[in-house]
C-alpha cells in the first residue's frame, strides 16, 4: 500500500507521509483487521462437514431468511418513502422545514436499544398503534412485520441523505424542455427525473438493506425471537455464543460476513456508477 515511485515522491511537497501512513495502517490493523481475522482463523478449526451442518441447519437457514427478507422489504419501502421525503425537502418551502430536516437524522443518532423499546411499546397489543391494529387482526409486534418496521426506521436516513444531494444538484433545463414540448409534470417525473434519481435511489436501498441485515438492537425487542419465525441471524449468533458454541457462532457469522462484504462491493460499484451518471 505504500508503494512509491520517484515521480510520486517528487510531487510530495507536504511532510509526514511515512509517519501518518504508518500510524494509520498500524492502528487499522490493531483495531479492525487483526480482530476480524480472528473470525477466519477460528473457522480453520472448523471442519467442512461441521461448517456445512451448522450452515444448513433449518433454524439457521430460517434466521437468514428472516434477516434478508425483512431487510429487503424495509429497504424497498424506505426507497419510496425516502424519495418522497427528499423530494419535499428539496423542492418545496414550508413552515417547520428545518425541524423536518433535522428529524430525518434521528435514527442515525438514537441508540438502537432506545428505538427497540419505544417501537415495541408503540406496536404491542396495548400500544398506541398496536391497539388500533389489533381489532383488525393485524399483529405487528413479535411478527416479521414488526422487524420490518424497526428496520424501516433504521434505514430511512440512508435513502433520504443519498437522494437529497443529487436532487439538489439537478439542473432544471431538461424539465423546462419537457414542459415546452408539452409533457405534463407526471410524465416529466417518470421520463426525465426518475431515470436520473435511480442510481442514488438504488444506492440508498443497498445501504439500508446492508444495515438491516446486521441490525440487532432495534430488532431484538420487537421481534419476539421465536426460532424459525422471528429469529434474526445476529441473535442466533448471540445465543450460540451464550452457550459457548463458538464453532457454530463462527459458522453463522462467516456467512453473514460474506453477505455483508458482497453488499459493500455492490454499494461501492453503485456509488461509482451514480457519480458517473450525475457528472
Amino acid at each position: 500500500m505504500t508503494v512509491t515511485n520517484t515521480s510520486a515522491a517528487q510531487r510530495r511537497v507536504l511532510p509526514g507521509f511515512g509517519l501518518t501512513m504508518g500510524f494509520s495502517v498500524l492502528y487499522l490493523s490493531l483495531v479492525v483487521l487483526l480482530p476480524l481475522s480472528a473470525l477466519l482463523f477460528n473457522s480453520t478449526g472448523l471442519s467442512w462437514s461441521k461448517f456445512w451442518d451448522v450452515a444448513t441447519d433449518p433454524r439457521v437457514l430460517a434466521s437468514y431468511r428472516v434477516s434478508l427478507g425483512t431487510a429487503a422489504a424495509a429497504a424497498l419501502v424506505d426507497g419510496f418513502l425516502g424519495l418522497l421525503l427528499a423530494w419535499v425537502l428539496v423542492r418545496y418551502d414550508f413552515p417547520g422545514k428545518r425541524i423536518f430536516d433535522a428529524l430525518i437524522d434521528l435514527p442515525f443518532a438514537l441508540p438502537t436499544a432506545v428505538a427497540g423499546v419505544s417501537l415495541t411499546a408503540l406496536y404491542s397489543a396495548n400500544g398506541w398503534i398496536g391497539s388500533m391494529l389489533d381489532p383488525l387482526g393485524i399483529k405487528v409486534a413479535y411478527t416479521p412485520l414488526g422487524i420490518t418496521i424497526a428496520l424501516m426506521f433504521i434505514g430511512i436516513p440512508f435513502v433520504v441523505r443519498t437522494v437529497q444531494p443529487v436532487l439538489e444538484d439537478m439542473e432544471k433545463d431538461m424539465e423546462e424542455a419537457a414542459a415546452t414540448l408539452g409533457a405534463g409534470r407526471l410524465r416529466t417525473f417518470f421520463t426525465i427525473l426518475l431515470p436520473e434519481l435511480f442510481p442514488p435511489l438504488l444506492t440508498g436501498f443497498a445501504l439500508a438493506f446492508a444495515r438491516g441485515i446486521g441490525e440487532y438492537g432495534s430488532v431484538v425487542f420487537i421481534s419476539g425471537n421465536m426460532p424459525m419465525r422471528t429469529e434474526i441471524a445476529p441473535l442466533l449468533i448471540m445465543s450460540k455464543l451464550e452457550q459457548y458454541d463458538y464453532a457454530g457462532a463462527t459458522a453463522v457469522a462467516l456467512i453473514l460476513l460474506l453477505i455483508s462484504f458482497l453488499m459493500l462491493l455492490v454499494i461501492n460499484t453503485l456509488q461509482r456508477w451514480a457519480r458517473k451518471t450525475s457528472s
Binding site: L39, L84, Y92, L106, G214, I237
Partner: protein, 288 residues
Amino acid sequence: MAGTVPIYAAARPKKSSSSPATTESSIVKWVLIGAAGLVLFWLIALPLIIVLTESLKKGWDVYLAALIDPDARSALRLTLLIAAITVPLNTVFGVIAAWAITKFRFRGKGMLITLIDLPFAVSPVIGGMIFVLIFGARGWFGPWLSDHDIKVVFALPGIILATLFITFPFVARELIPLMEDQGTQEEEAAITLGARGWQVFFRVTLPNIKWGLLYGIILCNARAMGEFGAVSVVSGHIRGETNTLPLHVEILYNEYQFSASFAVASLLLLLALVTMIIKSWVTRKSVH
C-alpha cells in the same frame, strides 16, 4: 454506514430557479408535503414521543428514582468513561488517516478507504464476537489471561475494544471527502513560504476542516455512547460494573420495569437530540 453522507453535500444552497413549468400545482405540492409530514410523524416522531410519555407514565417520582438509582448512575459513569477513551483515539486516527489519504498520492488508496469502512459493513454482534473469540474464556488468549488474572471480556477492556471497532470509521469517513475536495494547494503554499509541518496542520488544514471534524466527533460520540449489539456481547451484563446505559435500558425492560427503562432511555434520547442540534448548527455554519 451512517456518516457516509458528507455534511456539505446535504447543505449546498439551491441554485435552480423555479418557474411554473417546473413546479407542481399547489394542491399537489401540499398533498405531497402532507404525506411526507405524516410519514415523518409516524416513522420517526412517534417513537420519540413514546419514550417521553412512557417514562413519565408513573410520574416524576418514579422517573427521578430510576435516574438516581445507583445502578443507573454507575451505567452512566461507564458510558461516559467509554466515550472519553474511544472518541479521542478514533478522532486522532481519523485526522491522521485523512491526512495520509487526501494529501498524498499512492497506490491502493481505494483499498485503504474500503478497509476503513469495514466496521460499517459488519454486524455489531460480529464486532463484539471477534473479541470474545480472541480474549474469551475459551478464546485464544483465554487460558493465558486467566492464569495472569487479567479480565478483558466481560470487563472494561473488552467493552472499549468493541466500541473502538464499531466507531472506528466515523471521523475518518467525514474528513476524507471534505479534505479531498479542498486539495493540497493551500498547504503547499504554506510549506513554500517556510511553514513547518505542524504549523501547516494547525494554521491551514485545521481551520478548513473544523466543522467537518466536529460533525465526525459528535457522530462518533453518539455511537460510542449508544452502541448496543457489540457491547452486549462482550459486557457480561454485570450490574453496577459492566453495564452501560443502553444495556441498562434492556435489563430494566426485561424486568418489566417499563417506566424506569424508558426514563433511562430518555437520557439517551437527550443525547440523540443534542447530537442532532449540533449537527444542524454545524451544517449551517459550514455553508456560510
